[in-house]
Amino acid sequence: MPRHIIGIDVGGTFTDCAVLKDGAVIATAKSPTMPGAIDEGVMNALAVAAEDLGLSLREFLQGAESVTHGSTVVTNAIVERRGAKTGLLTTMGFEDTIIIGKAIQKAAGLSERELTNQAGLRNPVPLVPRHLIRGVTERIDRDGDIVAPIDEAQAIAALDDLVAQGVEAIAVCFLWSFVQARHEQWLVETCRARHPGVYVLASHEVAPLLGEYERTSTTVLHCYAGPAVIAYLGRLEQKLAQAGYDGKLLIAHASGGVTTVGDILRKPLLMLDSGPASGVVGARRFAAVGGQNNVICADMGGTTFDVAAIVDGGFLVEEEPVIGQYHYLLPKIAIKSIGAGGGSIVWSDVGVIHVGPRSAGAEPGPACYGQGGQAATITDVDLTLGFLNPGGFLGGRKLLDEGLARDALQRVGDQVGLSAVDVALAAFTVVNAQMADLISRTIIEQGHDPRDFALLAYGGAGSIHVAYLAQELGLSTVYVSPSASVFSALGMLCGGVTHLTQRAVTLRSPFDSGADDQLAGALAELRHELTASFSQEGIAPGEIAFEPTVHIKYATQPRAIAVPVADWLATPDPGLARLSGQFEAAYSKILGEGSGHALAGFEITKCSVTGQARNLADISAAPADRMTTRALTTTLQRKVRFPDMAQAVDCPVFRGGDLRSGDQLPGPCIIDRMGDTIVIPAFAVGRIDAVGNVVLELENGQ
């Protein structure tokens, strides 16, 4: 008998759960995230899902084939600086490398808007205080030649001293270790032998790439998060076992896919941002099922609006992401954010209505929450315009006060001589335009036209605004998933076990005759490395899809472009000239015709291989015979002020649970669901597709 699989995602406010069987969602559940006891919140959400299915928690877990998990535990440890007491051993004379941080940490993660405030720039609170950084006498040069051998006695003294200071983790990073790892290897082996209780990682193990700041920072971040992750996953595994689960715990990661607990213990940073990334993995699956190659993923939550893209069926990757003002070398799914969410504050300045980036957050929250918030927010706007049902927010668990919302908006209006409704209309248009601007920038920066994309909305607040976003962008189709409010938990069930490995390889044109063999050899080694990891997990090579990639740039440029090379490798006697050609084509696609400059020469900087085992679940379109057409009516309605209509109208309202595949919903109308509200304006027509998506077709566009 086929068993179900469980995805469980810890977010800032809620812990979400999705349960799949036979490729279909059989249950979803939400439970509050418990700060300080995240694993408790996880067990609570599992219990809610079990109850929903009429099972005991034990029956529910015993019947599960796998549990896949994503959590903010690493993000919290780093951002709140609650990670392990960490020491750093590095090449003597370069102890300050991670403190100087290339002088870029002060601006890391800031938007262009924040950069103009010079006196507001701050260096990060250090992950490793200066007195826990020790220099080791040793030096290797760029060719891997040993300029000064490691002083073993001095190194051991430094190591023992750090342990005596009570460090729980030690990062080891020497100059040029990715070319010659001998010194680092000796020191981590020595440390593991002398101090088996200390969590230790060397930079060549986690990021064998050029650039000592980023390599050090990556190693330190892994170490800083490591002990917290070990403790957390240990507790969770124990709780699951006590509750009757005897299967494998899989962990969602930000590179897009899932992995084993063992892999996470070696590279804890993989867990960073795994929730938002899982949403994008879900979107990729959604795109594949729906035959859509290009999808914009729009996730509007309480404080931020996140945008990612599926382009040609794959997601975009960020090579050097930032967390807590530290850079790290671990490719992750690229997601862009602006401060535009339900909590974003509406304000005015010399007669103009602005929205955000400040947010009222969860406390005090929007004015309509009645928790003392005085500032008008986008949630207050959505309520005042009639889009939100005051009694139906979060399934009726939160009552919204229309009077407080209107008063807050009127306070803004008094400054500019507008009514509360006019302020709401202006703010609604302004915030939509800001979200649309982020989307166009994300898509256009990749050399694409947003109009060639479908829009997929998820997150609690997005589906009210999405039709207007699409109109502003000139898009014709919008999808809202039936599981939009637990989309990350669902998304982590849409991928498979995925590993990525990468290595610095420097090759410059004109390429030597042996260069292509050298490249192919490096890729083969990486693939071999991955095969070994998979086989430890019981996954045979035949079940793995490998994606080899080579990073190429014009010789002097800073950033390389990832060029997929599976086809290139399959060609007999391929030659690097062909690879350069592939790079130039990809380059001019992104940056525009005529931006290439072959005269400047080419440089290969690194190669990487991703391996993905088969998907956890086979999610596909449900059979078409479930589709029926019927005349749909509703007796529910509420007064809604659509921005595109001259005045408020009595708008039909449908309950999500009453809708079936095949239903047609001409705008204007509204769908109230358990976790969200979908607004279908007059310029759009809604329908429910075979798998339960609400699809909006816009008359559009420009």
């Binding site: 004379g93 006196a119 030096r139 300045d349 202006a426 920066e445």
Partner: protein, 724 residues
């Protein structure tokens, strides 16, 4: 046409994003680390008249360039057709660039046949030709010996680079491939912006776009005007020295009096030295850029950087023929890092003194000066593959100035360049025949203060696996005098240091299994101070030591909390000696508790402050004063305004110091000391003629000002508050 306020806000946000986006496109294409790491570039959107709507935040010193270039093109190409798909370049400092390395491209933006704006990018090129590799001329007297000037020329038609003009534009460069790549970066950016303008016009119409542009300039100007008007009237002064003109080791003064009158700011550079017979001058464009760049940083921290809105509110007074308003054929190749930089430096110092008196948000923007002077080297030689190369090292971040309420940024980078980044040691060792012995934060380089100036960088490099002799050009400022002055009793940061060590034992030490990482450990047998401009050959076994200066401090260092001083000592940012002599914290010692030792030491230091006042006797002429009006407080002074007078008191003890408009310094006690007191690095500067002057309250001995001045210089009276 007028535009509704919602459309206004929608398009305003969109244009802002487009300007950020085009800078990113250019950086992604650029192959020059000066662009993609140091972020020495600026992008701007302009209206059809060439007035700036948005300037990117990367390098505020370049903020005005594109606007200038667009206006020059509009003027010089009047009567000739300007069509969609055209773009123009120039590097001429009399046409919009600051020095020849800044190559600017501007392009008209069209909707059908209507001109709807301009866009532009200026980016620093690694080399544009001329006698000295890298372009910062050494040993040449005028512009004819520097990188060739490219007056505005239409290099792009129908969005295609004209091959003949491209060849001409890069022919003189030692790095033609980089320059070619950068040309394509600018072109890709301008073209992207045209696409985005087309989308806007298709959706909203060209009229709406134009209406939003003028509305935006009006509204931003109004917001800045209000900010200025709310500041007190008066005059504030700042001065700095430029080192070495590239030929002779002469110092030049840049002097500024900033007057605030009603809604206007007047920047008067009277007292600035005549233009130099070398490359350190800048043109009027460099002068205005320096002023505008600092005013944007200070006044527009949360407003769009719209030069079109700001510029008309500022008046700049300067004599042509002076060092920051040089006339052709003065040498200007160092412009950005010399006279223009110094202009921005004094402008920020004077604006900080003024804005410290703000009762609004501007006080939070006050910073003591950062170390402004560039210091780096240009390398020229043969790489291990036998190919000639020219490269620049830019890995010495300076220290940020302290703020009122927090310390300056340690190894913060450059002022006005928030995205400036340095380069990994591994990146330089990979492409240049160098080995770094160490690179770290420079102890004692930040100015002491209640809030400490950020520290700079210290490093030593030695040639490694040389294929052929290495030619090195060293360029610096802040060698004779610490550039980053303190504020309100804070000390200046250190000077910048360049030492050539010809007989090092570094290699032997490596072989013996030691890491040579401290110059005091006698691995230097000979060290020569290099002047602020030097060109030399470097051989294996020799080494260069650099120290990049730190930022200025804010407030009397004797008021810095003891734990903060102890933490600085533990982190290697402040030495025990400076902790004792400037902060009065005897970290090491056995008599009594640290608190007791500190109290005793601080009393001793206060007792040593004293001496004659530069003006009248303390309190002379000050009548009894009843506070019946405003009271504004800076870190140093309490300013009290009543109907009849404005009075300035010591913030520490309340002693009446002066009536407006007299500078309170006339009543403070002056103590002169050798400049080495402020930082041990200062003995490595050419500082024989420079002294430290401390100004303390005659009653409580609280420091209200610290100046580094040449011995012959008069007292810098820098604070003149006009009673309204």
């Amino acid at each position: 046409m007028t535009v509704d306020l919602v459309t206004y806000e929608v398009l305003r946000h969109r244009l802002w994003m487009i300007n950020d986006e085009q800078a990113n496109v250019a950086m992604q294409v650029s192959g020059s680390p000066v662009v993609y790491e140091t972020k020495d570039l600026s992008s701007a959107l302009m209206n059809p008249d060439g007035d700036g709507l948005f300037v990117s935040a990367h390098a505020s010193r370049l903020a005005l360039c594109t606007q200038y270039v667009a206006k020059t093109v509009i003027e010089r190409f009047a009567g000739q057709p300007i069509r969609p798909g055209d773009a123009f370049i120039t590097n001429d400092p009399w046409a919009g660039a600051i020095h020849q390395n800044d190559v600017a491209m501007v392009a008209p933006m069209f909707w059908q046949d209507t001109l709807v704006g301009w866009t532009g990018l200026v980016m620093h090129e690694m080399d544009v030709g001329g006698a000295t590799p890298g372009g910062l001329s050494s040993g040449t007297a005028d512009v004819f010996a520097e990188g060739p000037l490219i007056p505005p020329v239409k290099i792009v038609e129908n969005w295609l680079l004209r091959p003949d003009l491209e060849a001409w534009a890069i022919r003189n460069s030692r790095t033609p491939l980089l320059n070619g790549l950068n040309l394509r970066g600018r072109l890709a950016a301008c073209r992207r912006t045209q696409e985005r303008f087309t989308q806007i016009c298709a959706r909203y119409g060209a009229d709406a776009l134009l209406a939003v542009q003028s509305e935006m300039i009006d509204r931003t100007r109004e917001a800045i005007r209000k900010r200025i008007a709310a500041l007190p009237d008066g005059a504030w002064r700042a001065e700095t020295l430029l080192d070495h003109n590239g030929v002779d080791d002469i110092a030049y003064r840049v002097a500024l009096t900033l007057s605030k009158q009603g809604e206007r700011l007047i920047f008067d550079f009277e007292g600035t030295d005549p233009q130099a017979a070398g490359g350190i001058n800048c043109t009027e464009i460099g002068l205005e850029s320096g002023v505008v760049g600092s005013a944007l940083t200070m006044l527009c921290y949360d407003l769009p950087w719209s030069t079109g809105a700001l510029r008309p509110l500022l008046e700049v007074r300067s004599q042509p023929g002076t060092i920051n308003n040089a006339t052709h054929p003065a040498g200007v190749s160092h412009g950005t890092v010399a006279a223009s930089r110094a202009t921005a430096h004094v402008a920020l110092a004077a604006l900080s003194k003024l804005c410290a008196l703000s009762s609004g948000g501007l006080a939070s923007q006050v910073e003591a000066n950062w170390t402004a002077g560039y210091q780096g080297m240009t390398l020229n030689g043969v790489d291990k593959e036998g190919e000639p190369f020219t490269g620049v090292t830019l890995d010495q971040p300076g220290g940020g100035g302290a703020r009122i309420g927090s310390d300056g940024l340690d190894t913060g980078g450059v002022p006005g360049g928030p995205t400036f980044g340095t380069t990994n040691v591994e990146t330089y060792e990979k492409i240049y025949p160098l080995l770094y012995l160490y690179r770290r934060q420079a102890v004692d380089s930040g100015g002491a203060g209640r809030f400490r100036g950020g520290v700079g960088t210290e490093l030593v490099v030695t040639p490694h696996k040389l294929a052929a002799p290495l030619s090195v050009t060293v360029v610096s400022h802040g060698a004779k005098q610490p550039e980053a002055g303190g504020l309100f009793g804070g000390f200046p940061g250190s000077v910048q240091v360049r030492l050539l060590m010809t007989e090092t034992s570094a290699l032997e030490q490596f072989k013996a299994g030691a890491t040579p990482n401290d110059i005091s450990k006698e691995f230097v047998r000979s060290a020569t101070r290099l002047p602020a401009k030097a060109r030399l050959g470097l051989r294996e076994g020799e080494a260069l030591l650099f120290v990049r200066g730190g930022g200025g401090g804010v407030g009397d260092p004797l008021e810095r909390p003891i734990p903060a001083v102890v933490a600085d000592v533990q982190s290697g940012l402040v030495s025990k000696e400076i902790a004792l002599t400037l902060y009065g914290v005897p970290v090491a010692g056995d008599a009594g508790t640290l608190d007791e030792r500190t109290r005793h030491q601080r009393d001793l230091i206060r007792a040593g402050r004293g001496g004659a006042s530069p003006g009248a006797a303390p309190g002379a002429g000050v009548e009894a004063f009843n506070l019946d009006g405003r009271s504004e407080i800076t870190t140093a002074y309490a300013v009290e305004v009543s109907a009849s007078a404005t009075l300035i008191r010591c913030r520490g003890c309340g002693l009446q110091l002066a009536h407006s408009p007299a500078d309170p310094k006339v009543c403070l006690e002056e103590t002169k000391s050798p400049i080495a007191l402020a930082s041990p690095w200062n003995v490595y500067g050419d500082t024989e003629h420079v002294e430290l002057r401390q100004y303390a309250c005659p009653r409580c001995h609280r420091l209200a000002g610290v100046d580094a001045r040449r011995v012959e210089d008069e007292t810098l009276f820098d604070f003149s508050y006009v009673h309204e």
